[in-house]
Symmetry: C2
Subunit: 669 residues, 2 copies
């Protein structure tokens, strides 16, 4: 092949591969980044697959765990317009790969052509001889028994003089089945990329988060981990399975912020937990006011006993007092006057926070130190990290860090707290974050919610971005909660918990419906970020029982344990949002109606998508409201609902697809 | 870095590259295939570009010819939502590469922050020192004169005690300009792929093809190249610049087809030119009835004198008499009865054609022989090939072949005659075909035409698929030409010639409005494929003069010399198709209205897109019909037209954007 152009030669070492495989989905950034799944989830695969000419093509998905030699196979079938579809199911957490293989099916092509010629009454004598040769060839790949049978058929095809009888033998099931069972893949094309999948444990997709400042757990002074243990039954009864703590490390004293983010702290002000590091230590230390490292470890264990996993906050930044500032001045930016550069977004200044300089000459040492922080807490039983402002640290750093940690701990979960521009949020998800905060917090109208949820679940975003819907955070008290009263809190909770299988609240501010904001801002007045709170958890208006009920509904209904199965439907009233969540087998069907207006009763007709739910339009069906436990018998597509936000702004109906009729009665027949 | 995971390590040899570049357009199949341009055409480039944090980012396009060491640069600017845009212009034919480079602009970020702080009245004393260090740094990259100036400014910034005066120096144009002129790209990110462009000569984008059977050029017997020379003034006067000849090789005698594709030829029947090869030779020989190889070469030269380039047909298949069948039996499929397999699409049989077997063990020798066929004709002055049924030969073969030939002859043009499924057509275009046949031949209604042309020009298809609109071919006499009479021939000609800068007709059947078809088929009755024709070119109804005028309009109006600039607009009448073609500078604006109904007069209002054309809604304008040479003065967007297909089914208006007014008169002022 001396004449071949050097750039193309390697590609064409085998010129007889006639099948083309292209436009494979899912494929994130050309396979650079993995798609995300949890154990047992499906990967639906599509591709354009075709050959030159009119020959029949066959194709399969190949998939395997990273490090496994042997590929497993899953079928692909042609749908239309040269598009093929199939799926496979991933196993335990770790990395997987998949690709596609396609080949020309010569015996199959011959068989189809033979049938056409035979039916057109053409002479097929020579075609029978051609086919006999194919069968002999197949027999060489076949098991002993099948091989014998194939050779026997081939012999008959060569010897049988009666075309009709030979043809009926050829056109029987046996020849077709054997040719499919023993394909000739000599010249099969394998798609040029092995596409990666990262498989996480189930909690990556189904989790209910509760954020709580441990220092507010005491009824008198500064809370400790010991006090926090008493909160565990409370959190557990509400049904949360992740308890996320803001940073638990020593807090800097220099430039410490006062209450309401005042530039100077008063005596006794505890400071923001995100101003990490003091003489007591940095990211691997525990704030002595909260207790010791042993107390923390004990708390993590106790939480686990309550079915609650503790998540830590990874905020890679320092207070001016952090030991790193003295020990590793090379990791920070210094100004000509000898001062260290604090965080700014001019004209705003954050003097209690010193950012790390990811452009330091010593970036490798910095990366390794930050990884050691994670590994430190991993060794103490933590597996979930909520990462503070990841979009202000280097993307390459995260890509390396998460990959590295997940190869050691495939059960690690990283939640990206990046409330920033969409391209940046999606990049962080692609490069490895397990879950991500979203714009849900600001999506209120029917159109906004539908459009955003559809973007997350019905576009390529679904392959790499696992949303976690938060109603509020210590930084964000959204306007609709400021003005909507308790009905708004109920409504937003139900939306978050049912639209998305990962959701979270910052409490107890949430369940106590705290709505006082800084004037003109979406920030809490007297924010817990800057002071110790004492919460009266027993206040009558607390949502704790309702939250417990909603989380119970989530755990009892598998349809709520996925984010990808939401479908919006028509309702006549713009304030009524209607959606279904269903399991694939339609054994669990939820029909959810939410009144988005926290002030007024809203009513109107909604359209139940009977056809999609495989329900007969001619039979009545039962819908059971899992919140109120009321039952209704409905008939047909359009049904009337009315929701008073002051009573309950939503129905979560479980739909019973068919009601019993006389035919179902024992004595009917 | 021993701890880095081996798979990620190479990627992260430099961890300080903070800019991300992704979602680059155009990028065909992840850069596997080149985009297509002709010399002097623009490549508009887009990408998502951003960094972590709030620092300013800068980016440029890098591009160069293959083999050139040094990159050239073109600017990129941020549009919105982290999307950046720019463009560059390609030069002479050959391969090019482009990529993107982006970096964090530290001095620019400092400058922007400085301005905000200064305007907010903050103390900027230390910031001035920080900036002075930046200027010193820039001065190290600057030319002598600029370096001096920068050091001078830095000195002032350090020494000037009056903040206002120092600040006004900093915020002047000079500092900003210098920082842009001498960027620090130490940690610049270069996009991971160098994306290919194949640049063709201009004829790849702008060509008018005339297909003609040379054997029908004589008024008495079998035409010869010598007779064909007499046709050249005729073809040239009609304005065609490519004369495409069906295969000119010896035609097989075994199983030769008769008139109307009858299974057996009568004495004197010339056979189909696509049944290539006889004792006189194969793909490198000339049918003796047409003349000698020398006659052909002379004809090619004569054609060039008339401004017409001869294109040959590449039909890689053989008649049973082709020398290959004897000399290379290993290139064909043989059946158990010792016969060679002919072409079939059961139950249809094409006994006069023997396909090549691209799965032969000797595929390398076969590929090289087929390439030698092209090189043989290249050496005889042919540069354009219309490739017969490329979709029935191996895709890999074409990919190798076209790339190889174009590296030797960058002026080679390959037209893909694949009337097949869309994915297959687009693959052939991506892998290298210069131009492609299209579905235009069957697109008749307004919606069909708009939808198809928009797919070709406004989607990614535009990057790799150069359409060539054919009104008819020897194989296809579309139904609308069978039934629409002369008006349909005129209308389809104008559509092809104005919608697409590459178009073609099969003549003289087209200009003579031949419309007799096989019963119930889209095939010519008494097709020229199977017999020698004698055409009366002087028939009164011939379209030759109109075709000449249309091609003259194409060559005089640069707006018709691109396919990518078509824009459809509203018309009240569904039968009236309205579109503009404009040059980028709006110096040449064509407004084209076509009556798609070949039977009836149609009229209605059409909307002239004044805003898009940068025309004042308050001033009258002149439109000149380039076909009839009639002039109209119009005013405002909506104007009335009426088209009688029996007179002329279209207007090709040249729009004069402004008419002179009293102010333009010499004596007005």
């Amino acid at each position: 092949m001396g004449l071949f152009h050097p750039r193309k030669e390697s590609m064409i070492s085998e010129g007889r591969k006639r099948v083309v495989i292209e436009n494979v989905r899912p494929e994130v950034d050309g396979g650079k980044f993995p798609i995300k799944r949890v154990e047992g989830e499906k990967v639906a695969v599509e591709a354009d697959i075709f050959s030159d000419g009119h020959d029949l093509v066959r194709a399969v998905i190949l998939y395997r765990g990273d490090g496994v030699k042997k590929w497993r196979e899953a079928p692909l079938r042609h749908v239309a317009n040269d598009r093929w579809e199939g799926w496979f199911r991933v196993g335990e957490p770790g990395y997987y790969r998949y690709t596609i293989q396609g080949w020309v099916d010569h015996p199959g092509t011959w068989l189809a052509d033979f049938e056409k010629k035979y039916r057109a009454g053409q002479d097929v004598a020579v075609d029978l001889l051609v086919g006999a040769d194919f069968l002999d060839e197949i027999s060489e790949r076949a098991s002993g028994k099948d091989a014998n049978k194939l050779r026997e058929i081939a012999r008959t095809m060569r010897e049988e003089k009666d075309a009709k009888s030979a043809s009926s033998l050829v056109l029987g099931d046996e020849v077709r089945e054997m040719s499919l069972k023993y394909p000739d893949r000599k010249f099969a094309t394998t798609y040029e990329k092995e596409l990666p999948v990262v498989v996480d444990r189930r909690k990556a997709l189904v989790s209910a988060w509760y954020e709580m400042f441990p220092r507010s757990c005491d009824s008198a002074g500064h809370g400790t981990f010991a006090n926090c243990e008493k909160m565990l039954p409370y959190v557990s009864r509400m049904g949360f399975d992740v308890l996320y703590l803001p940073p638990i490390h020593p807090i800097g004293r220099t430039k410490r912020k006062g209450k309401n983010n005042l530039p100077a702290a008063q005596t006794g002000d505890p400071g923001s937990p995100w101003a990490i590091g003091a003489e007591e230590g940095g990211h691997k230390a525990v704030n002595p006011d909260l207790g010791t490292l042993e107390d923390f470890e004990r708390f993590v264990g106790k939480a686990r006993e309550h079915g609650v996993e503790v998540a830590l906050d990874l905020a890679f930044q320092c207070s001016p007092d952090h030991p790193y500032v003295r020990e590793h001045p090379e990791w920070f930016r210094w100004r000509p006057d000898g001062s260290v550069a604090f965080a700014e977004n001019p004209p705003k200044k954050y003097e209690d926070i010193i950012p790390l300089n990811f452009e330091t000459e010593a970036w490798k040492e910095l990366w390794e130190e930050l990884r050691s922080v994670i590994l430190f807490w991993m060794e103490r039983g933590v597996r979930i990290f909520r990462v503070d402002n990841p979009h202000t640290k280097s993307f390459l750093f995260w890509e390396w860090l998460i990959d590295d940690v997940k190869r050691r701990y495939p059960d690690a979960i990283f939640l990206s707290e990046a409330f920033t521009r969409p391209k940046v949020m999606y990049r962080l998800a692609r490069l490895g974050f397990t879950q991500s905060y979203t714009y849900f917090t600001w999506r209120n109208t029917k159109w906004e919610i539908m459009e955003y949820v559809n973007e997350l679940t019905r576009t390529e975003v679904r392959e790499f971005f696992r949303p976690n819907f938060w109603t509020n955070t210590p930084d964000i008290l959204p306007e609709h909660l400021q003005y909507g009263g308790r009905p708004a809190f109920v409504m937003r909770l139900i939306l978050a918990a049912t639209l998305c299988s990962n959701y979270g609240i910052y409490g107890p501010a949430y369940e106590l419906c705290v709505s006082d904001a800084m004037e003109g801002k979406e920030e809490y007045l007297a924010s817990e970020k800057y002071e110790v709170k004492r919460w009266d958890l027993d206040r009558a208006e607390s949502l704790r029982d309702l939250i417990g009920k909603i989380n119970r509904i989530r755990s009892e209904n598998p349809a709520l344990q996925s984010t990808w199965n939401v479908n919006f439907h028509e309702s006549e009233n713009e304030k009524l949002l209607l959606y279904t969540k269903t399991t694939e087998d339609l054994e669990n069907i939820l029909l959810i109606v939410v009144n988005l207006d926290p002030y007024n009763k809203q009513s109107g007709r909604i359209r139940v998508p009977l056809e999609e739910l495989d329900m007969a339009p001619t039979r009545p069906y039962l819908v059971l409201d899992l919140i109120s436990e009321d039952k209704y018998v409905w008939f047909g597509e359009w049904n009337h609902v009315e929701l008073d936000p002051h009573v309950m702004p939503a129905h979560i109906f479980r739909v019973h697809r068919r009601m019993s009729r006389e035919q179902d009665f024992d004595y009917f027949m």
